[in-house]
Amino acid sequence: MRSRDAEDTRAYRAALAVGLPTAAYGISFGALATVGAGLDVWQTMVLSLVMFTGGSQFALVGVLASGGLSAWPSAVASAALLGSRNAVYAIRMSPVVGRGFARRALAAHLTIDESTAVSSAQQSPRAQKIGFWVTGLVVYVGWNLTTFIGALLGDLLGDVSAYGLDAAAAAAFLGLLWPRLAKLQAQAVAVAAAFVAALLTPVLMPGLPVLVAALVALVFGATNWLGSRRPRLGEAS
C-alpha cells in the first residue's frame, strides 16, 4: 500500500515537472501565430484547442509565416507529417488508457509527446495512467491559457524581427529537436535535412523544401544507415 502511494506521488510530480514548463511556451506559439503568420486570435486558439500538438502547430504557422497563405498545402502537410508521431504514441498508450468510447476519444486528444513520455517512464499500470492523464490535462489547460496570452501580446508587438521573435522561433524548434539527437543516426538525419531544406529554398516553391527534407528520414529509416544493429526491444525512445 505504501509503495503504491509513493509511486502515485512520483507520477504526479513528474506530470507537473514536465507539464508546467511545456505549457509556458505556448506564449511563443501565440505570439508567432498572430504576428509571424498573421492569424487572428481565434484562429490561433483553435490550433491550440483542437490541433493541440506543439510541433505541428509551430510547423503550420512557420510555413505560413515564410510562404504566405498560398503555401497552405505544404503548411498542412508539414503539420500532418509532424503529427504522425502522435499516431505511434496512441498505439503505445492504447492499453494504458483502457476501454470506453468517450475515454478513448478524450485520450486521443491528449496524446502528445509529454503525456506519452511521462506515462512511459512510470512502472505500475496505475502510475502510468496518472502520468498520462495528469500530464495531458496540465499541458492542455496551461498551453491554451499561454497561447491566449501570447496571441494578445503578439497583436500588441507589431514587427517581430525587432524583438528577435524570428530567432526565438528557430530556438523553439531547436528545443523540440534537442532531446531527439542522442544517437548518431538522428544527428546525421538532422544535419542532412537542414542542408537539403536550405539548399532547395531558392529553387523550390515555399514549403516544399521542408517536405523534400523529410525524405531524408525515409531513406535512413528504410536502410537503417548509421543505425544500431541491436534490436529495439526494451529500449526507451
Binding site: R85, N86, R92, A186, V191
Partner: protein, 101 residues
C-alpha cells in the same frame, strides 16, 4: 483557401492521426523499420524547419542576427538551461544585434 480553412483542415487532420493510432493493432508499429522511420521523420522535419527559420528570407538565403541567436540557443540547450529561458535568450541576442547594427 482562407486562413480559417487551413486552420480547420490541419487541426482535423492532426486530431485524426491521434484517433487513428487508437484504432490500429499494436503489432504494425512494433516492427523496427516503421518505428524508426517515424522517429527520424520528426527529427528531419524539425531540423529542416530550424534551417529555414535561421537562413531563409522569403526564397533567399541570408546570414543575419538569427544565426548567432540560434548558436547561443544550442549552447544553452547543451548546458540544460530551461526551455523558456533559452527562447528569451535567443530573442534577446537577435534583437540586441539588430539594435547595434
Amino acid at each position: 483557401m482562407t486562413a480559417w480553412h487551413v486552420v480547420l483542415l490541419a487541426s482535423i487532420v492532426c486530431f485524426g492521426l491521434k484517433v487513428l493510432g487508437y484504432l490500429v493493432p499494436a503489432r504494425i508499429i512494433e516492427r523496427p523499420a516503421p518505428a524508426r522511420t517515424v522517429d527520424l521523420l520528426t527529427v528531419a522535419l524539425l531540423a529542416a524547419l530550424i534551417s529555414l527559420q535561421t537562413f531563409a528570407h522569403g526564397q533567399q538565403l541570408q546570414l543575419d542576427a538569427r544565426l548567432p541567436a540560434v548558436l547561443v540557443a544550442a549552447i544553452l540547450f547543451a548546458l540544460r538551461v530551461p526551455f523558456i529561458v533559452v527562447i528569451v535568450a535567443a530573442a534577446v541576442v537577435a534583437a540586441g544585434l539588430r539594435a547595434l547594427s
